[in-house]
């Protein structure tokens, strides 16, 4: 029962993450790659993502602090950050990344900074939610097949 509840809760959590636009299709694809040989694949990827991208975040912050703002450098870091974020399906983070890139292109420092703050907020919030999600997933036992959110 406990397990069932957990599973239901898990499904609801996931659904909500999708409904609210935090995650996209890519997350589903990751789940599909998860199998018996790779039972915690999604969690591993997400963990790796947050670990690796934290240095990118620091790098971004450093770059944004400088004046004048080095847009090229910022764009380069963002390129990677966006690629990384899109790999786990972090939809909002990815969208903000695109915005920042635009601002870089147009040389809008203010826009870059503001956008970055937004992005970081989302980045952090998503991490928390995914942590909860995976914790619950472990409780619920082996995950079911990736199910598309309705």
């Amino acid at each position: 029962m406990d397990r069932n509840n957990s599973r239901r809760q898990l499904a609801a959590m996931k659904q909500s993450l999708f409904d609210q636009g935090h995650l996209d299709e890519q997350f589903i694809q990751l789940e599909e790659l998860q199998d018996d040989a790779n039972p915690n694949f999604v969690e591993e990827i997400v963990t790796l993502y947050y670990r690796d991208s934290s240095r990118l975040i620091s790098s971004l912050e450093q770059t944004l602090e400088r004046n004048p703002l080095d847009f090229n450098k910022l764009d380069t870091i963002m390129h990677q950050f966006k690629g990384s974020s899109s790999s786990i399906g972090a939809k909002k983070v990815k969208a903000e990344s695109t915005l920042i890139r635009e601002y870089c292109r147009t040389g809008n420092a203010e826009g870059c900074r503001k956008s970055f703050q937004q992005m970081k907020k989302e980045y952090v919030a998503l991490r928390k939610r995914l942590e909860n999600y995976f914790q619950l997933a472990r409780q619920a036992g082996p995950m079911d097949r990736a199910s598309r959110p309705k």
Binding site: E44, I45, Y49, D52
Partner: protein, 657 residues
């Protein structure tokens, strides 16, 4: 058709199991996801986060890998640089990965020889098709060597082309078209001057490997000479390299360019046909992504498999893609590109020896011209400035294979952007006016695969997909795809046959493809088609200009692009039918050009499929003509000169880069 059936019946994946992929990405998350996806496709995967390490691994043993997938942005080395080196030194298919899909980048990738450009996050479906690039490449390479007697046919015999090239050049000295001819010469050797080429014994010169060194020299030489003066002869002199002949360079570049062109063409073609869809795509920032996805060779190829796509029913964007996939499209796409570009005033700049890469950049700026260039490739020899020197569309399989048009995907994306307005016609290849020359180069290459125009009926060239010889694929015995006999020309044709009557319909109808389609189920063909036409050899043998192959896949899409401009005249024979045809060039010319087929013009009107088929027909004059005419005005001369050389430069990207 039994081949097709076999493929169709294949229960599961059609890709080869155990294909050895080298994945390079400095981002650990992306790399891990990529690795997992590739393993899921049952490929044998090696990963590294350093470009330098990748290069070392590749240099250690080229035969250790079948394909390379690499991110474009890496800290230790520019992804494009790696791409270039791998292409030059190892001649392996390289797929670029990026989180950004802007046209500029894609073009850059293409110009550097990428056979595909995928947007992150990469999807499993896309990766499932990448093996086709390998097939394609394999097809062309072996063939090159084998086809000694038909230099033109096999794209690649660098040697074969050499001999005649020299002679031919002298013969035509003074002709503007000469340049172009140079390019074509290789291809057209048999046709035009190359009597000697036909002599098998004369063929086979030691292949000159176009090393980075040579490339640099080449670029430097061209730069120094200036676009106008950068004739092959002079360049060679400057480079002071012995064994290199124009042909050699041309061929190689054409190959690459054609690949790129094809891709672009396909993209353009795809774009062309689906103006709306493209526009839509292009409009949003997601376009690229979408475009890429759909266009990506994988996608494209995959689409080919879809009967609907092939049948030309699907003019819808997706449909377009599908068509684009048909390898045959490649050619058409090229034409299209050219076509497109012609529509817009050809930018002299392009020709200006802008190395391909520059061209692209340039185009990028124009944001329009990117694609059209591609089409330019289909140069119409005699009169059209259109670079496509295809005229002899010899099925140079080798060429197309070198760089699977997969780029097409990116092209597609590009196409949208470039839209007919783009002057440049796209892809850096100097499409502008120069593109013609370039185009010709491409066209040659791509056509080689496709059997340019020669056989309008030879859609079979498109067949390559099916024809893909699994044998050629060394590592994978599992290639499901058995070589599809080229005879299944129809395979490629499917595009045509299906096509009910889009604008291309006029032409298309005439296209043998449709008629010819043996009746194999298009579906079969589709599956076949899926293969970008690496198989071209199969079709090529006949010299069928299965332009479709040409499309290495990307072409396919391009073909379908059906003139974005709308002006594209269906390449099909019926060029005369189309109003465009009449306008532009003398259909006869087009024919000669052979690339006319490719000219996406036809495709522009017709459903993508048509375009592809168009390619096949050398008659594609329509589109080509169109392009040619526009191009002629300005770039003609330039192109001629630049023709092959030009492309090379751009290709090497060294210059522009």
């Amino acid at each position: 058709s039994q081949y097709y059936r076999r493929i169709m019946d294949d229960s599961g994946d059609r890709f080869p199991i155990g294909m050895r992929v080298l994945a390079v990405d400095d981002d650990p998350t992306c790399l891990l996801v990529l690795e997992t996806l590739l393993r899921r496709c049952q490929y044998h995967v090696t990963t590294t986060s350093q470009a330098r390490t990748a290069l070392t691994m590749l240099r250690e043993n080229k035969d250790k890998f079948d394909l390379v997938i690499s991110d474009v942005h890496m800290p230790d080395m520019d992804g494009f640089k790696l791409l270039e080196l791998v292409g030059l030194e190892m001649d392996l298919p390289v797929i670029m990965l990026s989180a950004y899909g802007d046209t500029k980048l894609v073009m850059k990738g293409i110009s550097h020889g990428a056979c595909d450009y995928l947007l992150k996050p990469v999807r499993l479906e896309e990766l499932k098709n990448i093996w086709q690039h390998v097939i394609r490449k394999k097809k062309s390479d072996p063939k090159e060597k084998n086809k000694a007697s038909k230099p033109d046919k096999t794209t690649s015999d660098s040697g074969s082309g050499l001999r005649s090239a020299g002679t031919e050049n002298t013969d035509e000295n003074g002709k503007l078209t000469k340049k172009r001819k140079d390019q074509d010469e290789d291809e057209d050797e048999d046709k035009e001057n190359g009597n000697e080429n036909e002599d098998p014994s004369a063929q086979k010169k030691p292949r000159v490997v176009w090393s980075v060194e040579l490339h640099r020299k080449f670029v430097a030489a061209v730069n120094q000479l200036g676009i106008d003066k950068a004739v092959p002869k002079k360049i060679l002199d400057m480079m002071n390299v012995e064994n290199i002949t124009r042909e050699n360079k041309y061929r190689l570049y054409l190959k690459r360019i054609s690949c790129v062109a094809n891709q672009q063409a396909s993209m353009v073609a795809a774009l062309g046909s689906a103006d709306q869809s493209y526009l839509r795509m292009g409009g949003s920032g997601h376009f690229h992504n979408n475009a890429f996805r759909s266009f990506s060779p994988n996608g494209i190829i995959g689409n080919l498999n879809t009967p609907t796509g092939l049948n030309g029913h699907g003019f819808s964007p997706s449909g377009l893609l599908q068509l684009g996939q048909s390898q045959s499209f490649n050619n058409s796409s090229n034409d299209q590109l050219k076509f497109q570009s012609t529509i817009t005033p050809v930018n002299q700049n392009i020709l200006q020896g802008m190395p391909m890469s520059i061209g692209f950049d340039h185009l990028q700026n124009n944001s329009k011209g990117v694609f059209p260039v591609q089409n330019l490739n289909t140069d119409v020899k005699p009169t059209f400035p259109i670079p496509n020197k295809f005229p002899d569309q010899r099925p140079k399989v080798a060429i197309s294979s070198s760089h699977p048009p997969s780029l097409g995907i990116s092209n597609n994306g590009l196409m949208l952007e470039t839209h007919p307005e783009g002057k440049h016609g796209g892809i850096g290849i100097g499409y502008g006016s120069s593109s013609s020359s370039v185009a010709s180069q491409h066209s040659e290459f791509s056509f080689s695969m496709l059997d340019q125009g020669r056989h309008s009926d030879n859609w079979s060239s498109v067949v390559p997909l099916s024809g893909i010889q699994t044998n050629s694929f060394p590592s994978s015995e599992c290639f499901r795809q058995t070589a599809i006999p080229p005879s299944d020309n129809m395979a490629s044709l499917p595009l045509q046959s299906g096509y009910p009557g889009g604008s291309l319909a006029d032409n298309m109808a005439s296209l043998p493809l449709q008629a010819g389609y043996p009746g194999g189920s298009l579906a079969d063909v589709h599956s076949q088609v899926g293969y970008p036409g690496n198989l071209p050899f199969q079709g090529w043998e006949d010299r069928n200009q299965d332009a479709t192959y040409h499309s290495n896949v990307t072409c396919g899409s391009i073909n379908s692009l059906a003139p974005v401009n709308g002006a594209v005249v269906p390449p099909g024979r019926t060029t005369t039918n189309s109003p465009l045809h009449t306008k532009f060039c003398d259909p006869m010319q087009m024919k000669q050009a052979g690339f006319a087929e490719f000219t996406e013009c036809s495709s522009s009107r017709q459903p993508r499929a048509n375009i592809v088929s168009q390619q096949r027909f050398s008659n594609n004059l329509g589109s080509l003509e169109y392009l040619a005419s526009s191009m002629m005005e300005q770039e003609q001369d330039k192109m001629k000169l630049l023709g092959g050389d030009f492309i090379c430069d751009s290709y090497s990207g060294g210059v522009s880069l």
